[in-house]
């Protein structure tokens, strides 16, 4: 589904990703872990199409297409979803209007008919239940006045509505208490299907107690320096990132 080869990216002349390789197939859950400043969030932004990066080298194929040539909105319509680390507030725009616009643009792209207000509200109510988000949140403006936990839940709610093929969740666990973490994790697990994939970007092993990854990768200095199964996360938790830094620097 996603194939990244030797991706090199810099921001204002400073290299951030230095030859990243990653293969993600349908049905898989990947976790990308790493210390601060290792390039995790840059990676997520590059996949979503944020454009203040210089792509120096490498290729990114998504469903056989050159992802780097697609506009951010086209990537979204083709099934890529980014769960933002810091979801932005859009005052005065109701969640309902916002998500109806999003879903209808995607449906137009897929050649499906537009949803009426009533049809949309029905779908929204179903998904709301799924991620356990209260209707009072959907009546409010996009993320405005939401607590940290509510914002993250709201990201998962949007993911449920858009039914993406590839979700990249950037530090979705940060700032969550244990109850909110469970709700977010349950949402992700519930939305998991054979034909979609998830990349979890996280700092801590904690989230991986609730979402079991098929693969764990360690990102350090802009490269994936170690990959393994879910046990790698536990090893990291125990030994810390210093251990990775040491073995990487030795090489």
């Amino acid at each position: 589904m996603l194939s990244i080869k030797n991706l090199k990216v810099s921001v204002e002349g400073k290299p951030i990703l230095n030859g990243l390789n990653l293969e993600v197939a349908e049905g898989e859950v990947h976790a990308i872990m790493g210390p601060n400043g290792s390039g995790k969030s840059t990676f997520a932004s590059v996949i979503a199409g944020r454009d203040y990066f210089d792509i120096k080298e490498g290729e990114v194929k998504y469903l056989g297409k050159n992802l780097l040539e697609m506009s951010p909105e086209m990537r979204s319509k083709e099934g890529i979803f980014l769960g933002f680390q810091y979801p932005v507030e859009i005052p005065g725009v109701s969640m309902t209007n916002f998500m109806r616009a999003a879903l209808n643009e995607k449906r137009e792209h897929l050649g499906l008919k537009q949803l009426s207000g009533a049809e949309f509200i029905k779908i929204m109510e179903e998904k709301q239940e799924l991620v356990n988000i209260q209707s009072k949140l959907t009546n409010r403006s996009v993320n405005e006045g939401f607590s940290g936990g509510e914002k993250k839940k709201n990201e998962i709610f949007q993911m449920a509505l858009l039914e993406p093929k590839l979700s990249v969740l950037d530090e979705t666990d940060s700032g969550l208490d244990i109850d909110a973490l469970k709700i977010v994790a349950n949402g992700v697990n519930y939305l998991k299907r054979k034909d979609n994939a998830t990349i979890l970007i996280t700092h801590y092993q904690r989230l991986l107690d609730y979402i079991i990854p098929d693969f764990v990768h360690v990102l350090y200095d802009g490269k994936i320096v170690k990959s393994g199964g879910k046990e790698l996360a536990l090893e990291l938790e125990e030994k810390g990132y210093e251990w990775i830094k040491e073995i990487t620097n030795k090489e």
Binding site: A48, F84, G92, A102, V142
Partner: protein, 483 residues
């Protein structure tokens, strides 16, 4: 970063002005120029009573002694007042249309194209329309139905024939012809407009609206609207305006007067979409308008709601005099400028009575190379005990080549009164745009959403059908302005 900047800077694309067409209608146009003869000509055309002609002439003589105001934060080429035609009216066989069947089908078609059907059965339920093309009113709908309630809703010219005493009693009592340069000009040459009279205790059963259309070239439009709400009455009034796309500027100088008596309430909503000129700033309407209402007696209430997206230059300050004790004034405004448009708009709230209250919410949105200014005066007279004003003026900038300015003036002469003013300036953030894009929402739609969200506090004050139109208009005005 550079790429992001390009996205924001690419503001100058010409947005689609879908009302820019011209209708080929046989029109009677007065020769260019303005003299006392022109005024005699207009007055005679309209078969006006003598007092009206005298009023016009006094106004004209006064206007000749006045200078065009220069204090507004706008720049434009000087207007040659002798190079404008002051009267243009679609030619008709009958001087007055008894019913819609008498109206030239071409005219009806023009208004259909503008989305204003004049056949009553097709009209938005519950809205009566007075349609004005250039200098003349074409049709007024639902007149008979309204007359049953004692409500007068007609073109200004007709009202002068049928109710001269009412016009004589009220005209220029709120905006005297000496008020300002453009009001004096309007008083001299005004051609048509609407007259509304709501009798005592009557709540008008439908929204009343006037739709203004400039069609002819080289003419100005000078309409006059007068609304009188007697004790305990209520009316909601809407106005809309469009004009063809032309490379010359055209002048629109209107006067609106509202009089609200004891316990009466008037809501006045405007969606102003005159042709804004092209992206280089060529052409477009000069919209120099004087609007003022008076809450004459206690507990009267008047609110102005305006959505301003058109015109190349706007000079407009819908104001209120709160004379009656406990009277209330409101001003809600969204003003959008794109490309090279300039707007200097705001309000004046003059508190004279005790316990008078006013609220001002102004949302300015600037894009392209435009300049958008809020100018407002809050004046608390020395006898206006316990009066209150709250003002909130927000500016939103799209791009870094446009300007937003706020000129608030506060004159408080009474110690028991409270005046509050809040102002913010913000930029549409790239994070917000990217968030929308990532959810699959195209750039233009994303801007439309964000801007409509920003203006929501004002838009929700508009009557339902108007609000939907206004939301679309906001999005269209800024279409192509980013990315």
């Amino acid at each position: 970063m550079q790429k992001d900047k390009n996205i924001i800077n690419k503001f100058t694309e010409e947005s689609d002005y879908k009302y820019g067409f011209y209708s080929d209608i046989e029109t009677e146009i007065a020769p260019k120029g303005l003299t006392e003869e022109t005024i005699h000509f207009i007055s005679k055309k309209k078969n006006e009573p003598d007092f009206m002609l005298e009023f016009r002439l006094k106004a004209f003589r006064h206007w000749q002694t006045m200078k065009e105001p220069e204090w507004a934060h706008v720049k434009y080429q000087p207007i040659n007042y002798q190079d404008i035609s002051y009267y243009a009216a679609p030619k008709t066989k009958k001087p007055k249309h008894e019913s819609i069947e008498d109206v030239d089908p071409e005219l009806i078609e023009t208004f259909n194209k503008l989305g204003i059907p004049l056949e009553e059965q097709k009209i938005l339920s519950g809205v009566a329309v007075d349609a004005v093309m250039d200098s003349a009113s074409i049709a007024t709908t639902y007149k008979k139905k309204l007359a049953k309630e004692g409500i007068i809703f007609s073109s200004f010219s007709e009202a002068l024939q049928e109710h001269p005493e009412l016009i004589k009693k009220h005209i220029a009592t709120v905006v005297p012809y000496t008020d300002n340069f453009f009001a004096a000009l309007n008083s001299a040459v005004f051609s048509d407009g609407s007259f509304v009279y709501i009798p005592k205790g009557v709540s008008c059963p439908m929204d009343l609206s006037t739709y203004f259309r400039i069609n002819s070239a080289n003419t100005g439009q000078f309409e006059r609207t007068l609304i009188v709400a007697e004790e305990g009455s209520y009316v909601s009034y809407l106005e809309g305006c469009t004009a063809p796309m032309r490379s010359e500027n055209q002048l629109h100088a209107a006067v609106v007067e509202i009089i609200a008596h004891k316990n009466a309430e008037v809501k006045y909503s405007t969606v102003q979409n005159w042709y804004p000129g092209n992206k280089e700033g060529k052409g477009g309407i000069y919209n120099f308008v004087t609007k003022r209402g008076i809450c004459k007696e206690e507990n009267a209430k008047i609110s102005w709601t305006q959505v301003e997206t058109g015109s190349s230059v706007t000079w407009k300050y819908p104001s209120l005099i709160l004379k009656g004790d406990n009277s209330k004034g409101e001003f809600f405004s969204v003003a959008v400028t794109n490309n090279k448009q300039q707007a200097d708009t705001g309000t004046k709230m003059i508190h004279l009575g005790n316990n008078t209250k006013s609220s001002i919410i102004s949302k300015g949105i600037s894009a392209g190379f435009s300049n958008n200014s809020y100018r407002g005066l809050v004046k608390i007279g020395k006898n206006a005990n316990n009066s209150r004003n709250f003002s909130q003026c927000d500016s939103l900038l799209l791009g870094d080549k446009c300007g937003a300015h706020t000129f608030p003036y506060i004159e408080a002469q009474n110690k028991s009164s409270i005046v509050e003013h809040e102002a913010t300036t913000s930029k549409i953030s790239e994070d917000q745009l990217f968030y929308c894009l990532q959810r699959g929402i195209e750039m233009d739609n994303a801007i439309g959403l964000i801007v409509n969200g920003y203006a929501k506090d004002v838009l929700k004050k508009l009557p339902m059908e108007f609000a939907v139109e206004a939301e679309k208009l906001l999005s269209i005005s800024l279409e192509g302005s980013v990315g």
